[in-house]
């Protein structure tokens, strides 16, 4: 596969400590397009080896608006079935630029390891120095060892190592959309996680047309009035949670967006530093970056102050546990009690619809109504929208905001970028396959 692709699928056998590469065939892209379309195919191909498939969308890392996402596909300890968790921030892009479109991790290592993926090289590395450490310490240590502060990581903390059902795979220092307990799968494989860095290039079949059309779509996207807003407080306000924005304002330091995503949906809270600070903080841990609107809301609803809620989110990110599950299931109402509850989180959280996609994303449109009505119609739309986002690599929260990102123009760009004829019929078939 020559275009919009690194042309490579990485297959890592942790049992044998072996790394193999497969070519990403054009015929597979013609049939499954990409992202979770292909990740599901790879999961089924290696199903007997209990695989975790990490992948990128066909448009990930390009000039198509919000083409930020990758995905993790695996069997969830929470639901017992195969689920898809988006990879956000700058990490999805880094996966593709590190030289592989898809990474299949199968088997179990005898001892703790991490995977160092860089410029088309995959190294299975000893993780004994970071095993037992929390997500923040591990991220910092790997960055220091590799000598690069921009190293992108996908790691577990003590929750994953200890086998908690709600152990999360964290991205860099931060919590992720993982509501599926994928951290437990990593821990069971003795896999501390993956570190990515790449300086690769992606070829585009029709580069000028691709960029021109991307920019036209971006221009349409920017006509949305909601782009005057920023941060997760405004998202919650749009969803009817009026008080959250005012509640977090006193500790809000900044908002940040995922790669090439026009809406800044992540909010950094400063907990031990002046939120008005305009220079880089000299404090080691000034605060926490929050992308999980429902976890934040959950801690508010149990009665925590905004600072304590921020500290709880930070503690969850360090421990590598799903903060939403902690807020919902711990039954605790003070910060210290919540921190002490991580190893005893039990019970069930609701995964909506067919259970394939994470309720980290609101289960309906945000800021726009997309002309939808009725619970069933909205849920069907939401599941399809999630599938489409994760096939093409679009930031899944932003795709719920923006009607201008259509299946039609995603297909158009995918065809321009690959020189393949990717049609609505093919996309419908891929979605049917994913949604069952």
């Amino acid at each position: 596969m020559e275009y919009l692709s690194t042309d490579k699928i990485l297959v890592i056998d942790l049992n044998a400590a072996q790394v193999e590469e497969e070519e990403l065939l054009e015929s597979l892209v013609e049939e499954k397009i990409g992202g979770i379309g292909i990740a599901k195919y790879l999961y089924e191909k290696y199903e007997n080896d209990d695989p975790i498939v990490i992948g990128t969308g066909l448009l990930t890392g390009t000039t198509y608006p919000a083409s930020a996402a990758g995905g993790i596909t695996a069997k969830s300890p929470v639901t017992g079935s195969v689920c898809h968790c988006p990879v956000i921030y700058k990490l999805g892009v880094e996966i593709k630029y590190s030289g592989f479109d898809y990474i299949v991790v199968k088997g179990r290592s005898d001892s703790p390891v991490y995977l160092w993926i860089h410029d088309g090289v995959a190294d299975i590395s000893d993780a004994s120095d970071v095993w037992g450490k929390d997500v923040w310490e591990s991220t910092d240590e790997l960055r220091k060892f590799v000598g690069d502060d921009l190293l992108q990581t996908m790691l577990i903390g003590p929750a994953g190592e200890n086998g908690s059902d709600y152990a999360q795979v964290c991205y860099n220092h931060w919590s992720s959309p993982d509501r599926f307990g994928f951290g437990k799968l990593f821990g069971a494989k003795n896999l501390k996680g993956l570190a990515f860095r790449g300086m690769g290039l992606i070829e585009v079949a029709e580069p000028e047309d691709y960029v021109e059309r991307s920019l036209e779509i971006l221009k349409q996207v920017k006509e949305n009035s909601f782009l005057e807003k920023k941060g997760l407080g405004q998202i919650l306000t749009a969803l009817g949670e009026e008080g959250v924005s005012d509640w977090i304002d006193p500790v809000t330091h900044r908002h940040s967006a995922d790669y090439f995503t026009p809406y800044a949906s992540n909010t950094a809270l400063f907990l031990d530093e002046d939120p008005g600070l305009l220079e880089e903080s000299k404090k080691e841990e000034p605060g926490v970056l929050v992308s999980d609107i429902y976890a934040l809301l959950g801690f508010k609803n149990v009665g925590l102050s905004v600072k304590d809620a921020g500290h709880a989110l930070k503690a969850c990110a360090k421990y590598g546990i799903d903060p939403f599950a902690v807020a919902q299931l711990s039954g605790k109402t003070t910060l210290e009690e919540i921190k002490d509850s991580f190893d005893s989180i039990n019970g069930e959280i609701t995964i909506p619809g067919s259970g394939l996609f994470t309720p980290w994303c609101p289960t309906g449109p945000i800021f726009n109504d997309f002309n939808l009505s009725g619970k069933d119609e909205i849920m069907a739309w939401w599941e399809r929208r999630q599938a489409v986002s994760m096939i093409f690599g679009i930031q899944p929260m932003f795709s719920l905001m923006c009607p201008e990102l259509t299946e039609e123009n995603m297909l158009e760009l995918a065809s321009l970028g690959t020189d393949l004829e990717l049609t609505q019929e093919i996309l419908d078939a891929v979605i049917d396959d994913i949604l069952g």
């Binding site: 410029d119 220091k144 590799v146 000598g147 502060d149 921009l150």
Partner: protein, 419 residues
């Protein structure tokens, strides 16, 4: 006609600019390239070359490394018909000097115009504006692109203007004016002035920028500016034309006399071993792994405000990057070959040096982050980069020109396009 056999000095004292010559010659289709350190020059491994290139760096350090024996061998090489191309530091090297160790290289009667008893006040970049030269100072009035013009001794019918970047190279006055092929014509919008315009004009304008000094059957080409810089195509062509012109004549004369060794794939096959299959794949993966690791740290170092003064030259992390990129950009072409051609022991030398560079770069990042002195580590890194890049290019050019992988055809095609 065989390609000229070109030796590029990449030993101690050189900076990264010899890599520009590699790019230049490869683009021109000259793939019979030999990479030399000071020991090979001292062992007179240059005697069978058509062209010897000494590029930029620290002139004193180059002279010190080559020593008296290296100097003798260079002189003998030129006297017997060889072409010496010296750029920047390589241009200073053979000029008359009483300074030790430069006094072992008194081959051409050319004076430096940017020499002063007093240090002219630098307006910016003080560290790059001047270097001690005995009791005097070699000063650098400008940096970046300057304008050059050929003289009637280059072509009596027409004068050509072109530009090339000056990074500390000399202005020159030749004993015989007919040696001057191009002079400094003036400055360009991209010229950075380290002294006043008046001093810059007085020092450079109308003085020699490119000089050819004959010595018995051979000659010295001295280039003040870096005509080999990849962004200056017209200047690049000047060098290629000179090589074609000089070696065409020289080989006709000397091939018959000295029977110089012309390149042939058969020779390579005889001298070097072929590596294929799993062994070749592992070697290339190992190179890719360590070059990638090194590039990643270097990318991070480039954000840091750090420089190292090694000898008389200032080095920044960006220069590490130039070495790494010169290999990285050729790696994919090398990976397409099923058979690698290399000397015995070269594989180990490459993998050891590449792995060590990663370790040292990670070490220096931690030293800088911890506000510790990093100069010693920087010296080690640049030494290792020289070793690695010389070894890598030995592997690369031997493999690409072996004729075993159809690479030669591609290179020849590139050469024809260039011409």
């Amino acid at each position: 006609m065989n390609d000229p056999k070109i030796g590029i000095y990449a030993g101690s004292g050189t900076s990264h600019s010899w890599l520009w010559f590699v790019d230049l010659f490869e683009k021109a289709g000259f793939h019979d390239l030999v990479f030399l350190d000071e020991f090979l020059v001292q062992n007179n491994e240059i005697k069978d070359l058509d062209v010897l290139v000494v590029s930029g760096g620290d002139t004193f350090a180059v002279a010190h490394s080559l020593g008296r024996q290296g100097g003798r061998n260079i002189k003998s090489f030129v006297e017997q018909g060889g072409v010496y191309i010296g750029s920047c530091a390589g241009a200073y090297l053979p000029m008359k000097s009483s300074q030790k160790p430069l006094d072992q290289f008194n081959f051409v009667d050319v004076k430096i115009t940017n020499l002063s008893k007093l240090f002219p006040g630098a307006e910016i970049q003080t560290c790059k504006s001047c270097a001690a030269y005995g009791y005097d100072f070699v000063f650098h009035p400008v940096r970046e692109a300057v304008s050059l013009k050929t003289t009637s001794f280059f072509d009596k019918d027409k004068s050509i203007e072109f530009s090339a970047p000056l990074y500390g190279g000399p202005g020159m006055k030749a004993k015989d004016p007919s040696w001057v092929l191009a002079v400094y014509e003036g400055f360009t919008p991209k010229t950075t002035f380290l002294t006043s315009l008046k001093i810059a004009q007085k020092t450079l304008v109308s003085n020699g920028a490119v000089i050819k000094v004959p010595l018995k059957q051979g000659c010295f080409y001295l280039l003040g500016p870096h005509l080999e810089h990849p962004k200056f195509k017209q200047a690049n062509q000047f060098i290629i034309d000179a090589v074609n012109r000089e070696t065409g004549t020289a080989r006709d004369d000397v091939d018959s006399k000295n029977k110089k060794t012309g390149f042939s794939p058969q020779d390579l096959k005889d001298r070097k071993e072929q590596v294929s299959g799993k062994k070749a794949k592992e070697l290339l993966l190992s190179i890719r792994r360590e070059l990638s690791n090194s590039r990643i740290v270097t990318g991070s170092l480039e954000f840091l405000p750090v420089q190292w003064l090694i000898g008389q030259k200032v080095y920044e992390p960006q220069k590490v990057r130039v070495y790494l990129e010169s290999m990285w950009k050729r790696l994919r072409a090398l990976e397409k070959n099923k058979v690698l051609i290399l000397e015995p022991g070269l594989s180990d030398r490459i993998t050891t040096a590449a792995g060590q560079i990663t370790i040292e770069l990670r070490r220096i990042k931690q030293q800088i982050d911890g506000n510790l002195d990093s100069l010693k580590t920087a010296v080690i890194i640049f030494d290792l980069l020289h070793i690695l890049s010389i070894s890598f290019f030995d592997l690369y050019f031997a493999t690409m020109s072996s004729g075993l992988n159809h690479s030669l055809k591609r290179l020849n095609h590139k050469r024809n396009k260039f011409r």
